[in-house]
């Protein structure tokens, strides 16, 4: 291992020495996921290369899911490989990247611009990308969990979109009684042992003012509040609002059920809207509303943020050029371009109200208030372990194999060894 490190360092040194006398042409490689619209990124990069003839950017497309991509990147970066200059990372990763020293901190490159640059982003993204005072990455596009609901059914039974969990329960019951369709599911959120299930736990916790950790990064799950999310979902499952098989529900299955007209409402990410409205076989086109997640008290909503960030790898041989590139990719101009070409949610509040953007995506005006209530999942280098602990316990609870107390106790004891 050590040998590889020496090699890598020697390689970097050599390359840096060579770079000063190198030709004008700089070759950059950017890594993105197959689902983050590499085609749109290429189009944007064409424009960049036209303006910067000295730079050539190549796009490498990775695995389909955030998890698959990170597993690949873990192996590559653990070997201190210098072949990637810029990497598009999930919003949950900056802390891990900072701790592993895989990301080049951007502060020195941003210089005096730092505060002004960061201030323009939506607050959640500003927070997510600054770890221990250092800027680790710049936001590329936003995402959040919304409550999608069947506007037509809610109107038919004269109910308002729910602001509280109690209203969600009542509305669901009313629709179920009226529709009398045993195949109609009422509400779904992720329950399988996947990343989305972490949000299933955190969203109610945040709504109650709870938090996983305190300011010093110590575990701060107080018993009274920490148990509430379990009780909420347990209650909704017992009432038949959540389906019996909630523990096997994954993100896309909710979208598929919803789109097939077999689900009344769902807590889900931004991609659902485009599929619902654009897919040829969608059964619910034009029948969908988007509101912030219901809360315990009206107006105290919270939700999980998603989205993708641009980081410069610490092993890149062209850091200065790479930083220049990501500053461009993280500009309002590109954010707008992405919103129009790929319906990616912007990371700048102003872009949501841009006339061209709204023309392409009328629902963005409903999305902005939701994104503004969005919160970051815990910022920790060992996020993968944290995620695993939360999702496994939530999943066991939803499957009915663990009681709320047992799940919470297990969660607290295991998280305690990480946040100490």
């Amino acid at each position: 291992m050590r040998k590889f490190i020496t090699f890598a360092l020697a390689g970097t040194a050599l390359a840096l020495a060579g770079a000063s006398s190198a030709l004008a042409q700089t070759q950059l490689r950017i890594f993105t996921g197959g689902q983050q619209r590499p085609d749109v990124m290429r189009q944007i990069l064409e424009g960049y290369m036209a303006k910067n003839p000295g730079v050539k950017v190549e796009v490498e497309v990775g695995g389909a899911t955030s998890e698959q991509q990170q597993q690949y990147l873990n192996t590559v970066l653990a070997s201190r490989d210098s072949s990637l200059d810029v990497v598009l990372i999930d919003v949950i990763r900056p802390a891990q990247w900072a701790a592993a020293q895989w990301a080049e901190p951007l502060d020195s490159y941003l210089g005096a611009d730092k505060d002004a640059t960061m201030a323009r982003y939506l607050p959640a993204y500003r927070e997510a990308n600054i770890v221990d005072g250092k800027v680790i990455a710049l936001p590329y596009f936003a995402d959040a969990q919304f409550l999608y609901y069947r506007k037509d059914l809610f109107e038919k039974y004269g109910v308002q979109p729910p602001k509280t969990w109690a209203e969600l329960k009542d509305a669901s019951k009313k629709i179920q009684d009226g529709e009398k369709n045993p195949n109609l599911s009422l509400f779904q959120t992720a329950g399988a042992p996947i990343e989305g299930t972490v949000c299933t736990y955190l969203v109610p916790l945040w709504q109650l003012g709870g938090n996983l950790t305190d300011k010093n990064g110590k575990l701060s799950l107080s018993a009274d509040i920490a148990k509430k999310p379990f009780e909420l979902w347990g209650d909704l499952k017992a009432a038949g609002v959540l389906p019996t098989n909630i523990a096997e529900i994954v993100t896309d299955r909710m979208r598929q059920n919803y789109q097939a007209g077999q689900l009344v409402s769902t807590m889900n990410w931004g991609f659902v809207w485009n599929r619902v409205e654009n897919d040829a076989d969608s059964q619910v086109k034009g029948k969908t509303g988007v509101v912030p997640m219901p809360a315990y008290e009206a107006g105290k909503s919270a939700t999980c943020i998603g989205g993708w960030q641009l980081a410069v790898t610490a092993f890149s041989k062209n850091k200065a050029e790479a930083v220049k590139l990501i500053r461009y990719l993280s500009s309002p101009e590109v954010s707008k371009q992405q919103a129009i070409l790929a319906s990616h949610l912007p990371v700048f509040p102003d872009v949501y109200t841009d006339a061209d953007v709204l023309k392409a995506n009328p629902w963005f005006k409903d999305a902005l208030p939701v994104v503004q209530t969005a919160r970051s999942r815990p910022v920790t280098p060992r996020y993968n372990e944290v995620s695993e602990i939360i999702r496994t316990n939530m999943n066991s609870f939803l499957a009915g194999t663990k009681t709320a107390d047992a799940a919470l106790a297990d969660m607290q004891s295991k998280l305690g060894t990480i946040f100490k």
Binding site: N74, A78, T244, N245, A247, R382, N384, E385, N395
Partner: protein, 311 residues
């Protein structure tokens, strides 16, 4: 099984080798060299890395800790790690259930496929398809089958008024569902080996037994099974090796859930190294897994340690 006859030949009466024998021996080593060279690159060198990493603290998410030598701490941690024991137990259960399961189902398939069909290929193709289907695909297909609402299994059971059964969300059912998928996928290879074995049994044996008035069941017990024994042993061995490494099917079907109830040792190692980036601990787990696999395949090693020169 001639397990005890290992390495007895050539008889050591002649301590000195003739020049011809010596050159043959040299050639023997030369012919072995490519295999061992390949193993050195692909397995031995990584194993050395693995062993040295397992006695160090090496967590990629905590690089500031360095990689200090910590002795056997990781091993001690594993022994008190509930999840390690749970995944080891699951792996053992997968071996104990799916290996005999695949052999029994495979035997049944082989016996059926050994009938004198006029057109053989559709049967053979049916027999061999699961074998040629990548494990990950098999896992994906069965996840779809066992889904609660839209799955084929629950819909079929519903037709008979049973269920619906929470196949993937109840620990016991989830384990059963993954076992079914594994047996389906792996019984195909077993059937292939056993079918080959069945075809070596001379027809005359059955004819003779028929004349002696032996019933069909008696023929099966007294001729088929003993004659098939070598093939069954081979099938058991290969099935056991793959069962120890069970990964793809539970990974695709349940991702180890609910809880950790279908997680195998291989999955836990993959999670620890590739997801949690705890290379030190992951390496120690991998070493422990190797020990488990050696224990599980000791019989196999004894089986192969016969002198290959004796047919």
């Amino acid at each position: 099984m001639s397990a005890a006859t290992l390495d007895k030949a050539p008889p050591k009466a002649k301590p000195r080798l003739s020049p011809l024998e010596r050159s043959e021996r040299r050639l023997g080593f030369i012919l072995l060299a490519p295999a061992f060279l390949l193993l050195a690159v692909v397995v031995l060198y990584p194993i050395i890395e693995l062993l040295t990493t397992s006695v160090r603290f090496y967590h990629l998410a905590q690089p500031w800790m360095g990689t200090p030598f910590i002795g056997l701490e990781h091993y001690a941690r594993a022994l008190s790690d509930e999840r390690f024991w749970e995944s080891t137990l699951n792996t053992v259960l997968y071996i104990v259930i799916t290996v005999p399961g695949a052999v029994i189902v495979g035997l049944g398939l082989a016996l059926l496929a050994n009938q004198p069909f006029s057109i053989k290929w559709p049967v053979r193709l049916g027999l061999l398809l699961p074998w040629a289907l990548p494990l990950v695909f098999a896992g994906l297909i069965f996840r779809w089958f066992f889904e609660y609402n839209q799955g084929l299994v629950n819909n079929a059971l519903g037709f008979f008024g049973i269920g619906p059964i929470p196949w993937l969300t109840n620990p016991t059912f989830a384990f059963a569902a993954t076992c079914i998928a594994i047996v389906w996928k792996t019984s195909s290879f077993v059937a292939l080996v056993l079918l080959a074995g069945l075809q070596t049994i001379p027809k005359s044996l059955y004819e003779a037994a028929e004349i002696d008035g032996a019933g069909k069941w008696q023929q099966f017990v007294e001729i088929t099974l003993p004659m098939l024994r070598p093939a069954i042993v081979v099938a058991l061995i290969f099935r056991t090796i793959t069962a120890i490494q069970t990964f793809d099917i539970p990974y695709a079907m349940t991702n180890g859930g609910p809880g950790h109830s279908t997680e195998t040792l291989a999955m836990y190692i993959h999670k620890t190294t590739i997801d949690f980036l705890d290379l030190g601990y992951g390496s120690a787990l991998a070493v422990l897994m190797f020990i488990v696999s050696v224990i599980a395949t000791t019989g196999y090693l004894r089986h192969t340690r016969r002198d290959p020169r004796k047919a």
